[in-house]
Symmetry: C2
Subunit: 407 residues, 2 copies
């Protein structure tokens, strides 16, 4: 047999995915039948179910309940190699990604989905006094500071017969701030009720400080109003139209006054991952997001996809919301686009499908605006059950589902 009898074999296309969050992970999974070699790089070894992070901060869930090794999620998908590493540079001309370890990855398709981190609006010095909540480590730090506050008060009472009032200040009343404030109220007023002999945990004050005129700014006004009412029923003091001017150790200065606080938590600003700028393609907006076209590509690079919180994608004149649903849909879409290319088909444009919004406010309270599979604005207990069901369904892996239910 001469070599000319052999079938012509082209090398398999190489897909490099940076980031194992909702977007990157779903892109990899949606490519499971594609004839490609995928390398997924993340600087952490776990995929994090970020929407439940606030429950780790209040000790309702353990870190391992909402984090799962990316490697084990993709265990049975033979076309994926998972690497723990960090990107230090892109060369878009030579289609190469440079890693901190020194490794060079070459690609035919590059997916960048490294998400967002918290931003202190130029006041990084506030971070020491008001930690944000984006990673497992953040949540564990906040959890410690919340529970230490009660412990210290009990000890102070034993020693001196009095204790400094407990005040928890949450800054920012988006979904994370609202859920966190509600969970802290539940912790103080319900879960810890019988745990202390000398102090009264239920006397703790929970302040929720927001610059806008309502909580849950991106949600419909009706849900915001309902969330406000439910927060107030839980005893959370919601301060709207209140701008934070300065944060020091146990002290929040606002345009409405100065508030001493035992624990301060930052749930306000969000900035895109610095990889958006590092990429050097497309237009980067002021939050660091890369503007993408209807195929999720930055200008001039059809082989590069920017997904999830790192993408600036507008639909009907509005940027799509930075939620898990958006990231999942974008991940699936990028995979579909690559499959279309491989099959010489036309690329489909991306369309964000809004299934609705929800937030939980303490135990058994929530707000939800469902748009799919049915249209409904829910509040209170029905919304909470909806929230519970959807979040448990989303959690990766059966074992974790069972454990989360038990807790």
């Amino acid at each position: 047999m001469s070599t000319s009898d052999l079938p012509i074999r082209t090398a398999r296309k190489r897909v490099v995915i940076i980031g194992g969050g909702f977007a990157g992970l779903n892109a990899a999974k949606a490519l499971h039948n594609a004839d490609v070699d995928i390398t997924l790089v993340d600087r952490k070894n776990h995929h994090l179910f970020q929407p439940l992070l606030y429950q780790v901060a209040t000790a309702t869930l353990a870190p391992t309940n909402i984090a799962q090794p990316i490697r084990s999620i993709l265990r049975d998908q033979k076309n994926v190699t998972v690497i723990l590493d960090q990107v230090v540079g892109f060369d878009l001309q030579y289609k190469t990604v440079k890693m901190e370890s020194g490794a060079l990855l070459t690609y035919d398709y590059l997916i960048v989905a490294t998400g967002a981190t918290h931003s202190y609006f130029g006041h990084d010095e506030w971070a020491r006094f008001a930690p944000g909540i984006k990673t497992i480590e953040d949540a564990v730090v906040i959890r410690k500071s919340i529970f230490l506050a009660f412990e210290n008060a009990e000890r102070q009472m034993l020693e001196t017969g009095r204790y400094d009032p407990l005040v928890f200040a949450v800054i920012g009343a988006g979904p994370t701030g609202v859920e966190l404030a509600g969970a802290i109220a539940d912790t103080a007023k319900i879960y810890l009720r019988k745990d202390y002999r000398l102090i009264e945990p239920g006397d703790a004050r929970i302040l929720l400080i927001e610059g806008l005129d309502r909580v849950l700014g991106p949600y419909p006004a009706k849900l915001s109003a309902s969330a406000l009412k439910q927060l107030q029923e839980l005893g959370v003091e919601v301060m709207l139209n209140t701008k934070v001017l300065n944060i020091e150790d146990k002290l929040v200065t606002t345009d409405k006054g100065v508030f001493p606080a035992t624990v301060i938590i930052w749930a306000a600003g969000v900035a895109a991952s610095p990889l958006g700028k590092l990429l050097g393609a497309g237009v980067v907006d002021k939050r660091g997001c890369v503007t993408v076209d209807q195929y999720l590509n930055p200008a001039g690079h059809k082989e590069v996809f920017i997904l999830g919180d790192l993408a600036h994608f507008e639909q009907e004149g509005k940027q799509v919301p930075g939620v898990a649903q958006t990231a999942i849909q974008m991940g699936n879409h990028a995979a579909r686009t690559i499959a279309a290319d491989l099959g010489n088909q036309e690329r489909p444009p991306f369309h964000y499908f809004d299934k609705g919004e929800m937030a939980t406010i303490g135990r058994m309270k929530a707000v939800a605006q469902l748009k799919w599979p049915l249209k409904a604005d829910l509040t209170g207990l029905p919304a909470w059950f909806g929230w519970l069901g959807i979040h448990i369904l989303f959690l990766v892996g059966l074992k974790n589902r069972l454990i989360v239910l038990l807790q």
Copy 2:
């Protein structure tokens, strides 16, 4: 009514317990019906199920599965106040304990049960290269180093096409070392088998280095022989009669040769908590344990009890073993003694009741010598089921029991 008509009320006796491990916690619980005021002090807020710590180090269990807030365990026991603090001094004459926070606790009865920590036999400089495993934080550090070793090898393979052999060295073949070596072998050879594309986790070498001539030194010879055989079946390389001379970064020097190792874990020496010396009562042995009489009191102090790993108590000429059973029985006994005093009854002497010993060696392998409720030497699968049942029964709280079973 004149004051002389009132019944004479004496102040309630105050019991101060230092340490919320098996001994201290069980002493507090056994005093639940006693007419005393108990203050339990611990420098951590959680009770730790230490016998399962090695499972956290190998990611089989999450930290929260084996740790539970002392405060919530004692929630419904109204005569206990739990304080997070650290002892800095004892005044046995004035029956006062001084705390780091500045608080002074006065007592009628003092129970000191602060356990043991690891000891590097005067070579504390080894700690950096070979962490020990006594706390949740220790276990998390070891877990990270084990899993990072595999991640680094996969990345090295991607970058250079080869990787340094993976070697895990466990020093000390007591129960902890044996259980840890078995669990690491399972992790490498079973759990991670399908997780990597470029390296072969099962090729990892696991060295178990022991100075004595057998594993599980304190156990009967027959069980030691069986444990050795089971370890070897799992692929663990057991090196007996081997003295460690030096430990450096990724290098163990012994009298039998020098062994490079990716991860080194210290499971050898144990020293008592420094509070034994600080107390200034009774005879302190070379490991720092305080010698106690048949009532668990140090010489000259009938109102002070030393319990658990901190106590040096001899029965039939031998020191009782430093295991959870000993601590639990001592805690219950101290409570019984205090109750006897309050009821003007004679104090009962302590007698350690040996229910047997067991150790698990990887998944579905174990050795056990049961003495109660039935006498039996078990090995292999029957021993493993016995181990599983007893450990799950011991775990505090129903929720954790269910979760541990699921995992």
